[in-house]
């Protein structure tokens, strides 16, 4: 009855409608097909009573009612669809995604098993996990992180050249951890244990940004990855703690003491495996769950700003000055790290094109108050250092403070420009991502140059 032209037009309208429906999270593919069949039934009937094809389509769509209402009704029955779920067995994602996620799972299991095995290898040479802290402290990251890097490099099909660079850097890390003749209780062992993981984490980052290491966007992705990885790692650690508590309790009830097994096998193997598993989870769920790190940032930025401003006001009120203890510098280093983290993760989640808002001003206040506090601390502490001479710990803490201070000072300047609409937001983002190599460089300096510089103290 209809001319072919009208039929083509009708099909185009159906295609458009289908696209529209499929954008709804509440409606699955099969629902869309079912509804389309319904719509077609309606259209056919209307054409049969004499309407033209386009009129029939309009009337039928109108009769079906608004999509909003329709999907609300669907959501009431299928509420689980709005809770995006991470399915470990990997179904739903469609036929194409399935074999890939299974391969990922296999690779993850291999890497996690490899990490667990490599933490046990030193035992063949007489090391004990609970006794030889001076060995395991610096070497922990050397044993665990290459496996995470391997998983990421495999997943991104890294080229031979990059794999060579990664291997070389991890080898340098291994040398740095073991080559220097350091006493078990020296400051340098502790410093290496702290800084080598940072240096090697950025090597992991190199594996993460394989395809385009210079791209600011890819580096920002790695910052996001780091935050999510950390959240997952903490969650896994909490679960592991519960597991251990129950194991100890239940086995003790039947007269068996599992402590040896836990401290020699479960704990070390579990922790290094969790490093890989957390990385895999971040990769697997990327599109499945909202990122949690930016949410935490949003929550804590106002609170930290209030706390720092209150501190400044109190400091001005009492006029007592800051009591510079030995730990003070480290405490204020950590404060700067937290402020930087808050800044980084809100940058990572922000739409770069959105205009400056109240939150950006809040962030500016946070950064500036942290800077003011830190400058006061630095003024108070430099005197002390020159007075008593310097140790590896003091030098490292001071160096970090300067690095973070430089970053935050320039960030504050860029933020001010952004709030006053002088500079684009992208400038701040680029500044943060291009600063990453500085952290790596400093961490390597502490690991490689500090022990000989300070006479293996």
């Amino acid at each position: 009855m209809t001319v072919p032209d009208g039929q083509d037009e009708l099909e185009a309208q159906f295609a458009q409608w289908r696209q529209h429906v499929q954008r709804r999270a509440e409606l699955k593919q099969s629902d869309a097909e079912e509804l389309e069949d319904h719509l077609r039934g309606s259209v056919d009937e209307l054409i049969a009573v004499g309407l033209r094809a386009d009129e029939a389509f309009l009337v039928a769509v109108k009769r079906m009612g608004g999509l909003d209402e329709l999907s609300r009704e669907f959501a009431r029955e299928h509420s689980e669809r709005l809770w995006k779920q991470l399915v470990l067995t990997g179904d739903t994602g469609g036929p194409a995604a399935d074999p890939r996620s299974r391969r990922d799972l296999t690779a993850m299991v291999i890497c996690a098993a490899g990490a667990a095995a490599s933490i046990k290898v030193p035992e063949l040479f007489g090391m004990r996990f609970e006794a030889d802290a001076a060995f395991y402290g610096p070497n922990f990251s050397v044993l665990a992180l290459p496996w995470l890097a391997a998983f990421l490099a495999w997943r991104r099909h890294a080229g031979k050249a990059l794999i060579g660079v990664l291997l070389a850097l991890f080898a340098v890390g291994a040398v740095a951890a073991n080559a220097y003749p350091l006493a078990e209780d020296s400051q340098s062992v502790v410093l290496t244990s702290i800084h080598l993981p940072i240096a090697l984490w950025i090597v992991v980052g190199l594996a993460y940004v394989t395809d385009d290491p210079r791209s600011s966007r890819r580096r920002m992705d790695f910052i996001r990855f780091t935050g999510e990885w950390f959240v997952y790692f903490v969650l896994i650690a909490l679960g592991g703690g519960v597991l251990i508590a129950f194991m100890v309790g239940t086995f003790k009830a039947i007269g068996i003491s599992p402590e040896g097994f836990i401290s020699q096998w479960l704990l070390p193997c579990g922790v290094v495996a969790a490093v890989v598993v957390a990385g895999w989870l971040v990769e697997a769920k990327q599109s499945v769950v909202e990122n949690i790190a930016p949410v935490l940032t949003r929550l804590f930025t106002p609170l930290f700003t209030a706390a720092l401003l209150a501190f400044l006001v109190a400091l001005g009120w009492t006029t007592a000055g800051i009591n510079v203890e030995r730990e003070a510098l480290i405490l204020f280093d950590l404060l700067l790290v937290v402020v930087l983290g808050l800044l980084l993760y809100s940058i990572s989640a922000r739409d770069p094109l959105a205009p400056p808002g109240l939150f950006d001003k809040l962030q500016f206040a946070l950064v500036v108050s942290a800077l003011v506090i830190d400058v006061l601390v630095l003024l108070a502490i430099t005197g002390r250092i020159t007075e008593y001479g310097t140790t590896p710990n003091k030098a490292a803490a001071l160096g970090e403070n300067v690095i973070l201070l430089a970053n935050l000072a320039w960030s504050a300047w860029l933020l001010l420009g952004f709030v006053r609409r002088r500079t684009p937001f992208a400038a701040l983002e680029r500044w943060q991502t291009s600063y990453l190599p500085v952290y790596a460089a400093w961490a390597w300096i502490v690991v490689l140059a500090f022990p000989p510089l300070f006479g293996y103290l």
Partner: protein, 124 residues
Amino acid sequence: MRVTKDLVAASATPMVLGILAEGESYGYAILKRINQLSGGELDWTEGLLYPLLHRLERLGHVESSWQSVAGERRRKYYRITNSGLAELAEQRRQWDTVVDALKQIWVGPGDFRPLTAIPLEGQA
């Protein structure tokens, strides 16, 4: 006269199960059948029908399959199960009770005189 939303919702399950008890069917045909049965007085929407069908499927009262009957489009057909028949019987028993009770109150059609109100007023 239009039947209220609440009443439509309450009668939805027995209505759909009853129609499917006549034989397997698909969404559009079910909606047309309801229209025909009620003379267009029951205001059913797609937003009511399809989520209801999916809920009945989840509860195991109906099962569905995509079929293409000769000369027609591929469609999702729904079929009532044994548990659906049992549910229908149960719903029917409940509805019979309600309808019986209502019939006893409503002595005759169009007869809305307040029969019991008069003696009460006389006492007061």
